[in-house]
Each structure stands twice: as structure tokens, then as C-alpha cells.
Subunit: 132 residues, 6 copies
């Protein structure tokens, strides 16, 4: 199995509902360093998993819809805690939509899986892994 | 599949028996930067894999039983080489015991796997992965 | 010259005023991974720059006054852009106040300088360096 | 499942054929920080996955056949784009050959998998995973 | 003293002349992860050292003149070993030229120093520091 | 001012005397990831600060006298706490001795400073800086 990973980041504000979150129930924020991993069992004719230029560009496009925002005000997250786990799934699902829409190139149709990892600090991160 | 990882560390002395270990047969030591990864297929009602506060606290509790010690003197490791691999399994098993004892919260009963990675330097690390 | 550095982090929301900040004028947030460096020309009788336990504890105390908050609502920052640079100075000044108050131990009276570095992402960080 | 990883690097020149590569069609170069991960379900009698000294030595031997070279001139890569993905597979396959030749020691016959990750920058890396 | 650092990278081919370079006399390559640090004693009215957007953009512009090239073919380096040290100075000098040309904004006229660090691997890096 | 840094590591056991050290008064251990930085104002005729091959080799030689040992048993440290700070000075002084003995090459006579940084974990490190 082959994989390629590209890294970018986003900087957001949000708050959580639920006693389990303690002081994070207050409005605060986070930098998420985001790793997007693309997987497939074989390489294409060029010897690659995915066009890394398009992968970088499309990850940036997905993150640009989230970064520099207060996620508490985003309709897409109404009634949802925007935990690191939930955001990892959101980024993965939106990236998969872009794969299906052809925005990562024709070769990306052979991708079989995507993993998104969001690093929230030097001591905590979360991942969501799904198939295509 | 979702996962959450928290990082902590321990600083121990030990020695190894067996020619394969070369100079590491002498009493020496290591800092292990420890990553504990918790996995489950779905999120709970709060949108999380595990209460990250409890996960951090319980990882620290497990490491506090090992850190600042000479492992050659610990009864738990009598007759065992405390290699990075063995210590990864020890930390994983003890953390799973705490999950089963309810110390990571009721939601942790839906965890399906744990991976422990011990970084012994910038150029070497070991992992142990198990199900719950 | 000797130095010792300890690392911790904080997670805050804020917004900036000024066209130079572009989309960061919107309410957003950041994780700041914070490195506090303590300097002195000679070691004390124990062979250390500072009691690293106290240094870690006092850095945490300073960050606990800032983390999990919307800095736009903090009176201490009224009329001030809480840029990475400004926050580095704030952390440094508050830590120096604690040194002077004796909270880092008697030996800390021989510290001659402090540098605070705030990492806002994997590709950007800022520092403030001052003498004591 | 247990794993052990060792890290080394290589510094090579190369160029790519195919419009997908854009400016990387020109002769350029890369440092690849290489992580070699060895996997097996159980530890050997010494409590290890593999002799880490031999693993380090054999990874270095594999990389020494590639580093400080222009890969465009290497017969082994004639007609092949030496992408990060292709090089990850090359390193993995050559390391497996060495396992089979006994150069990682008798205990290495119980290895069940190898993953090679090549980091080409702080924001991009690729992996190849195979069984033995 | 305040500083701000931004990180980017370049991927180049080159070779060295001189026995001190051993196998690096052959055509090979490197990824240089580049940190550009800007210094000044006081912040501007916005509370910043430099417009980080412009700093990032201008560092990228400087690196775009070097990346994806064989530096042995660049007239600017005729007769010069393009060591990590020399390239650090080149990037610093070209960035200072851009500061003086006003491309980092009017506020950048108060910068007093720049340091460029080039990381050539996980175990080696070089810096060049100069005043403005 | 130019600098070049190389990284290596050592793994030692030791204990401390003094109440300030708390649980670290017990026999324990550490991995120290060691960065050795060499400084000089101008480059030599080859365009380098120091022969990086020799620098790496001599740092390794210095660390080989310390690694895989219990420092409590080393005569060189009798009556001395082998804190991270003290060990940084020891490595620096021994490396300077080797510079003066010509073991880093003739060009190394123009070095003006050395800094040694010992990373004891992902959240703590210490440095010692001296002139030559």
C-alpha cells in the first residue's frame, strides 16, 4: 500500500457544550496543523499516488472555508461540538467530495482511502480515517 | 475510524541481558516520549473518542509508576529485558486495565484499540498496538 | 552562558484591528506552543540554572491566566492587538514578575535573561527577549 | 502487533518526466529523511522486534547505494520516475532482500511487515507498506 | 528584542568542489527547510515586527529563484560552492535587498537584523545572521 | 555571523543530590539529543564553517565517552550533579579541547564559539554557550 501526505494548517475560534470539556466550554481557539494522507494500492503511470500539487491546493481550499473563523457562528456546525475529531471528519469528507468531483485529477479516482490528522498542540492530536 | 493521541514522557535507568544489546548491556538510561493513541469507529454524543483530560491523567498515572526509577530493581520486570517494545506493551496493558476499571470514564467502554509508541531518541521508536 | 527551556501551551480566541491583518481581523484562534528560556552566566551550587519544577509550574500559572479565553474580552488587553509578539512579551513580563516575587526560588535571583517563544503554527513563531 | 522504527536520510538529485510534475521536471534534488518500520506480532526471546543495531546498519547500507547521486544516471531507475513513492518502494524492497539474505539476523525471519516513509520536506511525505 | 520567524523550503541539485566534501563532490541534491527570522527592538503601532503575510510572500519569492534548479548551472553561483552556509547568506542578502526596496512594507524599515537557517536534514543545519 | 549545527544523542543513567531534584534524586536515566553548534564570522575558502564530517565524527567521539553509562560511577563527575546544564558544559569543553588539538581540521582554528544544547524530553532542554 502506498500513501502520500501533505500538511497545512488552520486557526479557528470555538467553544464546546458538555461538562466533559471543562474550561474549554469557554470561547477559546486553536491552531490545527492538518495532515492529509491519500492511499492506494498501486501507483499510476507517472509513479505517484496523487498529483501532490492538486492535493495541496485542494486541502488548502477545504481549510480556507474554516480558517480565521469562529466555528460557533458557522451554520454547518449548528448544534455540533467542533471537536478535533469532528473537524478531522469534516475535512476528510469535504476532501473526498472534491476527489469525487474530479478536483484532484483523473488519477485520483484510484484512491482507496484518506486519513486526516489534526494536531491541536505538541501533546495532542486526532485522526479520522475513511475509505473512498 | 477515529483516534485521539496524547503525549507524555518518562525517564528511567535500566540494563539489558543478551549479546544482541552490545554496550546497552551496561546500566544506562532513556527518556521515553510516550504517545498513547485511543481508537473507536464512532464518536460519542459529545463528539469525542475519549475524555482527553482523563486520558492525559491516566497516562500520567501509568507513567508515574515507571519514571525516575531503575527498572532493573522493579519486581514487575524481574527476569525481563525492559526494551522499548516491552515497555510499550506494559504501558498499553496498564492503560487498558484502567479503561476496564472505568478510570477513563463511562464513554471509554466503546474504545476498540490502543497503540502506545515510545520514542527513545530522534532516530528510534517502537510501538505496541492491541485491541480492547 | 547557560540556559534552560521548558515548553507548555495555551489555546485562545482573539481578533486583530488593522488592515495589515487581513482575514485575521475576524474572530479566530490559536494554539501557542510556548517555550520559556531562562539564562544566567554561571550555575548555582546544585549545578542548575533554575529549579525546573518551579519554572514549569510558574510558566503554567502564567499561561493559565490566558488559556481557554477570548483575549478580546480581557481587560489587560483593552485597545491592544494580542499579536504573537505582544503575547510573547506579556508572558515574559509576567514570568519576570514571578521571579522577582520569589516564586521561582531564591536561586532564580541570579537569572540574567528570559526569552519567550510562541509557536503559532508549524511555519510561524515569534520571540521576545529581555533581561532581568 | 509490535513495531520498531529507525531513521536515517539520503540526499539525491533527479528530474521527472510528465506534465503533472511542473517545475520538478527540471533537474533538482531532495533530502529524504527515511523511516524504516519493522513489524511482527510477537517479540523474540530477547524482548525485541529486530536487532536495532543491524536494522540501522542495513538501512544505512541500502541508502548508501542511493545517496549523493543523480538518480537520473542510475541504471536501476532507467525509464522510471524516481518519485518519493517509487523510492519508498525501492528502499522497502531492498531492505526485504537483506532480511531474506539473513543480514538483519536470524530473528528477523519472524518479521511480517515493513513500512518505509520518505519525508521530502516539513510539509510532504510518502510511505510504502508491504508484507514479508 | 522581538523576532518573528516564517518557514518555507526549496529543493535543489548541486555538487561541491574540494576534497573536504567527500561523496558530496558528486552531483546530488537537498531539501532545505528555510527559517527566516526578522528582528527589531520595538514593535510597530499594530503590535508586530513585520507584516507576516509580506514576509512569507517575499521569502517565497526569494526561494522561487533557487528551487527546482541545478545550482551548478546558475550564473549567480559560478565558481562558488553552494554550501548550506553560502545559501543561507544568499537568502539573507536577497531578503535584505527586498526589505530595502520596500517589498516587506514601510514598517520593515525598522528591522535591525535577519537570521536565515537552512535545515538540510534532521541532523544538520546552518545559519547566517546579519544586521540591516 | 555563520553557524553550523550537527545532532547526535546519548543514553545515560544518573541520580542527583539535593532536595530541589525531588524524585530525580533516585537513580533514573535520560536520552539527551545533543545539538553542537559551531560559529565563526566568516567562511573558509571552501565556503564552510567547519568540516561537517569531522564535526559529526568528533561529537560522536565525545558522546561515546558518556553514552551507555551510569554517570554516578564516572570519576570525571565525582561530587558533581550531572544535570543537563553540567553535561552541556562538559560536551562543549571536550569538543573545544578537540578543536584545539586539531581534530576538527586546520580550518576549525577560526571558530569563535560553540553552543551545546541537550534536549532531555519534548518539553525541556538546556544549553551552554562559550567562546573558543
Amino acid at each position: 500500500m502506498f500513501s502520500v501526505t501533505v500538511r497545512d494548517h488552520m486557526m479557528i475560534a470555538h467553544s464546546f457544550r458538555g461538562e466533559v470539556f471543562g474550561p474549554a466550554q469557554r470561547l477559546h481557539g486553536a491552531t490545527f496543523v492538518v495532515d492529509a494522507t491519500f492511499r492506494r494500492p498501486d501507483l499510476d503511470a507517472d509513479g505517484i499516488v496523487v498529483d501532490i500539487g492538486l492535493a495541496t491546493e485542494q486541502l488548502r481550499a477545504v481549510l480556507s472555508e474554516l480558517t480565521y473563523r469562529n466555528l460557533d457562528d458557522e451554520p454547518a456546525f449548528a448544534g455540533v461540538n467542533t471537536t478535533t475529531e469532528v473537524l478531522a471528519r469534516t475535512v476528510a469528507d469535504r476532501l473526498v467530495d472534491r476527489v469525487h468531483a474530479g478536483e484532484l485529477g483523473a488519477g485520483a479516482r484510484d484512491l482507496t482511502g484518506i486519513t486526516i490528522t489534526l494536531h491541536e498542540s505538541h501533546i495532542a492530536w486526532a485522526s479520522y480515517e475513511r475509505s473512498l
